[in-house]
Amino acid sequence: MTTRPTRAERLDRAIEALLRGSTPGVAAATAEIGGDDRPLVVVAESLRTTLAQPVVAPRFEARVGARLSGAAATPWVLRHPGRLIVTGAVGSALGVGVTAYAVWRSTRRPSGAAHRLLQR
């Protein structure tokens, strides 16, 4: 056994039909709107055609967009703390390695003056 939709449910179906492009008459008939609620479908159609979505001022859109871009870019390392740790560890290891190599090379290479004497 199916229960008949309430008046509020039927009106909502009619509005859904209006928003999808149906005429008020078709929307009301499809949703089985009774005589008492027919004027509500007419009001709904007036609202649909009259209430416009305002357009935002371009300057405001740009300002908020810039603020959001800044907020999205700044906390990169904070949103990925693991990356910060890995980057730091790799950077430190590279630094230690390069320093160690430089020290090792300097101990093996003869000084410039001694090198010139050997060449004579």
């Binding site: 309430t6 509020a8 009106l11 209430l51 416009a52 979505q53 305002p54 405001f60 959001l68």
Partner: protein, 188 residues
């Protein structure tokens, strides 16, 4: 009018989900969602507050809060736009509280927004628009919220329920009462 009906309950996926997932991976991708919903959120705020500057302020705070919380969004029934408008709704509640009173909003500033860009339509519907806005401005906040979310932003009853924290059935009843009141106001 740019409003589009939301997905039918239980029959369609949230169309914003791919962009939401992209924004969760990289916050820079939030710009797509921002551009998509800026007008809608602003319209909701403007029709409730009746003031351009207040609407801009609440809209900005809504998107900043949404970006900060985007990682917490989960695809668990409510659509992204319902989630976003819920944030706007909370920010609006704060703004209305800050005003210290829930007055009947003057919607005079909306005259310029109505009837689209067609001059003939503007002329023909000027009086109807004025009367409609007058009636809308006399509705209680919760009824006006339902009307604006439904007819300006195109949210479904289910999505509006998620925004207002009410059941889908309660939203339909609220919508029915709001339209009944508007019909009565327009008759007098």
């Amino acid at each position: 009018m740019t409003a589009q009906p939301g997905p039918a309950p239980g029959t369609a996926r949230d169309a914003d989900l791919p962009d939401v997932l992209a924004a969760q991976r990289d916050h820079a991708a939030f710009g797509t969602l921002y551009r998509r919903y800026l007008d809608g959120v602003y319209g909701y705020c403007f029709y409730l507050l009746g003031d351009h500057h207040d609407a801009e302020d609440v809209t900005e705070r809504t998107f900043v809060a949404a970006l900060a919380a985007i990682d917490a969004f989960r695809d668990e029934g409510a659509t992204f736009r319902a989630w976003l408008f819920r944030i706007a709704h909370n920010q609006l509640a704060n703004a209305l509280r800050a005003r210290g009173r829930h007055r009947s909003t003057s919607l005079d500033a909306m005259a310029e927004l109505s009837a689209g860009d067609d001059p003939a339509l503007l002329a023909g519907r000027a009086e109807e628009g004025r009367r409609l806005r007058g009636a809308l401005g006399r509705l209680a906040d919760d009824r006006r919220q339902v009307i604006v979310l439904r007819f300006v932003d195109g949210l479904s009853a289910r999505e509006i329920g998620a925004v207002l924290g009410r059941s889908e059935g309660a939203v339909r009843v609220l919508q029915h009462r709001a339209l009944r009141q508007m019909a009565d106001l327009l008759e007098t």
